[in-house]
């Protein structure tokens, strides 16, 4: 099937005129989404989608167009649009497509036939089992906001006039739920999930248990007083924090003067406990991929080693502009040109488990959920402020639940204030791994 996509991409590339660079990205996917409620299927969506994105570079000018269709008419129209669009871009000496760089593509095992043989009834049963497990986990669970099973099979191919030819396919699935717990008129929520490449890898009981636990332990939560405290970030929160940090390390932000760390290569930007790696070749990662959005091999890049900034990530364009080579970090769908971003960030884990970390803290807050990352964190200035909920830590033990407060600092300061990294590396449905992280001197704003 994937060969078919590559052949289609080849056909587009073959239409290049002399002096033109042409790149075609062709994708196709099958997705299933099942939501259940009250023991019944609320909705079952099943669909195939496809699309093509075409980039044309001519005389240092880039144009782009896409279509959500693979029919010949749409492709011809898309190529013509991309070609026409190129005429309006400003000349840029670094503009151009990726070129083969000799780095071998590691064949990653990201596709499971088990997904396609798992029938719709079995998927529905998984989702119903998830809801039932949440509802039965604790007498205080009053309902669910959602319980769903989602999977996808996706294939993609990239071909260029510069000699790139790459294709791949992968499967993924997850179950996720939001539980509600109620006691004495107080309602709290908690979520749980499990991800895998095929349903056999999903742990429904764990997802349900976590959602119920997160919701029930928040019952009776009150607003804490303001103050400066040590915070313990739950792995889920840490992963979101890393995602923000990733922005500051991308070559585009660096070159365009939007990165806090632009001039800091070789300097200590974080606590020596911080080693940050971007490694999409780690097959345990939800976002693992063997090639990037431009068809180059992905690779393991150490960005921060023992607190010292080592490297930024690049795609072909930012690398050319920086006078270096792509790190295989082009990111894109078929509807856009490649941007550059981290693909799978993780912190090198420490040795202490979460319980040991909490035991070491006299006064603090365990943050189990944050909100408003998009509205209160500015990765350019580094200002960091998010809504939060979690549990107070007193005398090394988890104490009363707290909510309706914010945690604030700056990204720069938080990196230096890292006091410990947990041993509990977790693989989440996002482009960063989770791990418990202890950060000192964070402002808690509450009553």
């Amino acid at each position: 099937m994937t060969d078919e996509l590559l052949e289609l991409a080849d056909r587009v590339v073959a239409m290049a005129r002399p002096g033109e660079q042409v790149e075609a990205v062709v994708v196709r996917g099958t997705d299933t989404e099942i939501k259940v409620y009250g023991g019944q299927v609320e909705s079952l969506s099943s669909a195939q989608s496809q699309g093509v994105g075409i980039r044309v570079v001519v005389d240092g000018r880039q144009g782009f167009a896409y279509a959500g269709s693979l029919d010949e008419v749409a492709i011809t129209e898309t190529l013509a649009d991309a070609r026409d669009n190129a005429g309006f871009a400003t000349h840029d000496e670094h503009a151009g497509l990726a070129e083969p760089d000799g780095v071998p593509v590691q064949e990653l095992d990201l596709h499971r036939d088990g997904l396609s043989t798992f029938g719709p009834d079995a998927k529905v049963a998984l989702a119903i089992e998830l809801e039932r497990a949440v509802l039965g986990a604790d007498p205080r669970i009053s309902g669910i906001e959602s319980a769903e099973y989602v999977d996808g099979v996706s294939e993609a191919a990239v071909a260029t006039t510069t000699g790139i030819r790459s294709s791949g396919r992968e499967t993924s699935c997850y179950v996720a739920t939001y539980a509600m717990a109620t006691e004495g008129g107080d309602t709290q929520t908690g979520f749980g999930f499990s991800v895998g490449r095929e349903p056999a890898e999903l742990d429904v009981a764990r997802a349900a248990g976590e959602a119920a636990e997160r919701a029930t332990r928040m019952l009776g939560a009150t607003q804490p007083p303001s103050g400066r405290l040590t915070v313990v970030l739950d792995p889920w929160v840490t992963a979101q924090f890393l995602g923000l940090l990733g922005y500051t390390l991308n070559g585009d932000a660096v070159q365009k003067g939007r990165s806090l760390f632009a001039d800091r290569l070789g300097e200590a930007v974080a606590s020596p406990l911080v080693t940050l790696v971007d490694d999409p070749t780690d097959t345990r990662a939800f976002t693992a991929t063997d090639t990037d959005g431009e068809g180059l091999a992905t690779r393991r890049n150490v960005l921060v080693a023992d607190g010292v900034l080592e490297r930024f990530v690049h795609n072909a364009y930012t690398a050319r502009r920086a006078g270096t080579v792509s790190t295989g970090n082009a990111v894109r769908g078929f509807k856009s040109t490649p941007s550059v971003d981290c693909l799978f960030l993780s912190l090198a884990p420490g040795t202490a488990d979460p319980a040991e970390l909490v035991a070491s803290i006299a006064e603090g807050v365990l943050v189990q959920e944050v909100s408003g990352l998009h509205s209160g964190v500015n990765p350019v200035s580094g200002d960091f402020s998010t809504g939060a909920e979690g549990l107070r830590i007193r005398g090394g033990e988890l104490a009363e639940p707290v909510r309706e407060f914010t945690i604030a600092s700056t990204l720069q300061k938080m990196l230096h204030d890292v006091q410990a990294v947990g041993s509990d590396l977790q693989f989440l449905p996002m482009n960063a791994a989770g791990v418990t992280l202890v950060v000192g001197d964070v402002t808690v704003s509450g009553s």
């Binding site: 880039q62 309006f88 400003t90 070159q255 939007r258 509205s375 909510r403 309706e404």
Partner: protein
Amino acid sequence: MIEEAVLQRVLGAALRTGGEFAEVFAEDRRSSSALLDDGRVEELTSGRDRGAGIRVVVGETTGFAHTADLTEAGLVAAAEAAAAAAKGGGGGTRTVALTRRATSRGYDIEAYPGDVAKARKVELLTRADDIARSSGSAISQVSVSYGDNRRRILVANSDGLLAEDDTVRTFFAVSCVATGDTGMQTGRESIGHTVGFELFDMYDVDELARRAAGRALTKLAARPAPSGQMPVVIASGGGGVLFHEACGHGLEADLVAKGASVFRDRVGQRVASPGVTVVDDGTMAKEWGNIAIDDEGNPAQRNVLIDDGVLTDYMWDQLRARKEGRRSSGNGRRQSYQHLPMVRMTNTYLLAGADDPDDIVASTERGVLVKHLGGGQVNTATGDFVFGMTEAYLIEDGEVTEPLREGNLIGNGPEVLQRIDALGNDFAMGPPGTCGKDGQGVPVGDGVPTLRVSSLTIGGTAA
């Protein structure tokens, strides 16, 4: 987009396994965008998305399938897939007679973006870049983006409804970075309306660029925002995201039905200070959340949600309304033909009061004035919500003093609604927004007059 006879046959195929309700939603969307960054026009993009989503409802279950193939064979295949997913028990043949429903937007698009030369769009980008860069030597980076789209939709369902709409939206944004001794700060301004290229007759791009640059420059001198509770004044037109989050999402009937809203069972009760009237209004001409019909074919409406402090109604889509034996409020929306509709806001706003906006600030001893809001987020089950401040100032002794760095504010919806103690007479709509829910984004508008919340928690770092 699709012939009536074909629609009838496709609906017939969708109902063949005993479905109670079936719907075809077809969409043809053309979009174009242009981006200038780092002094260069980086690229122009053209896009086309065309397809249909078909749903079949049986009891509590909805089956859904979508296809990019709008031929009869493609549509029938999707209808059969949706019917199989919904798995009705019965069988048989039902014929649907379709009645075309007239739709009207009440105004005409003056300049379809597809008819406007690309060079004119590019010229706007370079102009805004020039103006922003000349606004101050500390402006170190500028990006400017232009976007337009034309979305034609067709909805046909087994109740016999047939409706079509043709919507044009145009968007423009300027983002600046200013660099100084204190590091970098950002400023952004955006405009967007359900209009064509005449957007640029409604607004002065130069002024927009100056404001974006000014916002970044002002913040170079900003001090850290306070930490803790104090009165907060929201400026008129700064953005009504406060109400979008504090009560809008909690009044969506799908969340209410699941008990996932703090506003469940509260219709008829006082939920906000007297004088607080919150409206969701899809009919608001030319606004970013304006629609002639929603994505289930129902006409847009002006719905009063909270009237003088009393909760009057929730927002409804077709499915939820059907279950309750009532009519949709015209709030069934979806991101694209690849998505199922759900209850969504359109333009959500708070009506003006009688207070003089200057008096509201002058009567605030110590607090924060938020002139421009960022996005927000809410947990509808607990009512806790946050929203960002992207331009804010300290109020000391009734005077606006120092600018503040960015951060989130946090509050609880039902509590904050009761704490509104001043409402200005200066209503204005805010910048265009994209509301995210369950992974789908739709364009929404919001607006507020100047108002004061007697106490909100400000998530800064200063004592």
